[in-house]
């Protein structure tokens, strides 16, 4: 039915090919044939058939409209970072100076970290790991031109400025990284500074006060 309607139009009134007659311009169907054809044309021109045709036309038109959009529709993506640096808590407070006391020429003197006594000490409040660096003096400066030779030792304590150490005392230039609490809270570490003056080092030294300065640099690490 659809196929016949698709082919049917007014020109068919004058087209004899469907009846086996060679198609030729000017061919005129018989009166009876034209009547049949008119009915067919009317049937094919009914509202339902027109709606069917319009639907097909609409779908075709829609396809034409959508096709270019689909052909050019694109997508893509990009990324950027968000960054922040949470600062650490780090305060350094001097607690005490290292004091070797009176030195008898020829006699050794030792102030041992972790062992009490007149240790030098810094209190370090921190919520992150930190490193300590220092360039200790080789001698204490005083009346003797060459000064008083001295060796320094350092260590960390979590207890106090004179209490037990977390690990054995070490050369002050080789202090390990001290860990922070790890949970964001602030903890306290005491850096104890001791040292020794060897007996021979004090022989021939002029009497008087000898002193030196040690500057510790404490740096947070993340």
């Amino acid at each position: 039915m659809e196929d016949s309607c698709k082919r049917m139009n007014n020109s068919d009134l004058w087209d004899c090919s469907s009846r086996g007659t060679p198609r030729a311009k000017g061919c005129v169907a018989s009166s009876a044939d034209r009547t049949v054809l008119r009915r067919e044309i009317q049937r094919c021109s009914s509202p339902w058939e027109l709606i069917k045709k319009m639907k097909k036309l609409a779908l075709f038109t829609l396809a034409l409209c959508v096709a270019p959009q689909l052909a050019h529709a694109q997508s893509g993506s990009g990324v950027v970072d968000a960054t922040a640096t949470v600062l650490s808590v780090l305060t350094v407070t001097e607690i005490a100076d290292l004091d070797f006391g009176n030195v008898t020429p020829g006699s050794p003197v030792t102030v041992a970290p972790g062992g009490g006594g007149a240790l030098g000490a810094l209190q370090i409040d921190h919520n992150a790991d930190f490193n300590v660096s220092v360039t200790p003096p080789v001698t204490l400066t005083g009346p003797s031109p060459g000064g008083l030779p001295v060796d320094f030792l350092c260590g960390y304590s979590a207890i106090s400025s004179t209490g037990g150490l977390l690990a054995a005392a070490t050369d002050c230039t080789a202090l390990p990284t001290r860990s922070g609490p790890g949970d964001g809270s602030t903890g306290t570490t005491f850096l104890q500074v001791g040292g020794s003056i060897l007996g021979p080092s004090s022989l021939g030294i002029l009497p008087g006060v000898y002193s030196g300065t040690m500057t510790f640099t404490v740096t947070s690490t993340f």
């Binding site: 694109q74 993506s77 950027v80 968000a82 960054t83 922040a84 650490s88």
Partner: protein, 131 residues
């Protein structure tokens, strides 16, 4: 069509318990992405809820409804604010050569926020791009 990151969202140095806000007008710290080659598109941002440190600590990250703007490149129309949490459809004006997306946000460190460097990745998705 191209989606070109220009710069990331940088909160810089923040202190524990002190929220840090970056507005989309903060040229030095806002995130910026340029979109070219499309006249219309749907924009969607994938926004993480946290930045993460190397040790796995989380730093909360949030975006307010006016934390994003779109600016037409080569066009004098003022920036338009939009909610970065909702997909948006845009049509670029004819005389504009593209669009710049600017994004701010808020980092909210906890009072016990572990110190260190934190980062997160923001994803900008463009779809339905047409000419």
């Amino acid at each position: 069509m191209s989606v070109d990151p220009v710069q990331g969202l940088s909160f810089g140095q923040v202190l524990p318990s002190v929220p840090e806000v970056v507005t989309p007008t903060d040229a030095a710290r806002r995130a910026e992405v340029e979109i070219r080659g499309a006249r219309s598109f749907t924009l969607e941002l994938v926004l993480p809820a946290n930045m993460v440190s190397a040790s796995g600590a989380l730093l909360p990250l949030s975006f307010a409804p006016a934390d994003a703007t779109i600016t037409w490149l080569g066009h004098n129309r003022p920036p338009k604010a939009f909610d970065p949490g909702t997909p948006q459809d845009f049509r670029i004006p004819k005389r504009a050569s593209g669009a710049a997306i600017h994004l701010g946000g808020t980092a909210t460190p906890d009072p016990l926020q572990p110190p260190g460097s934190y980062s997160a990745t923001l994803v900008i998705i463009i779809s339905n791009a047409g000419n």
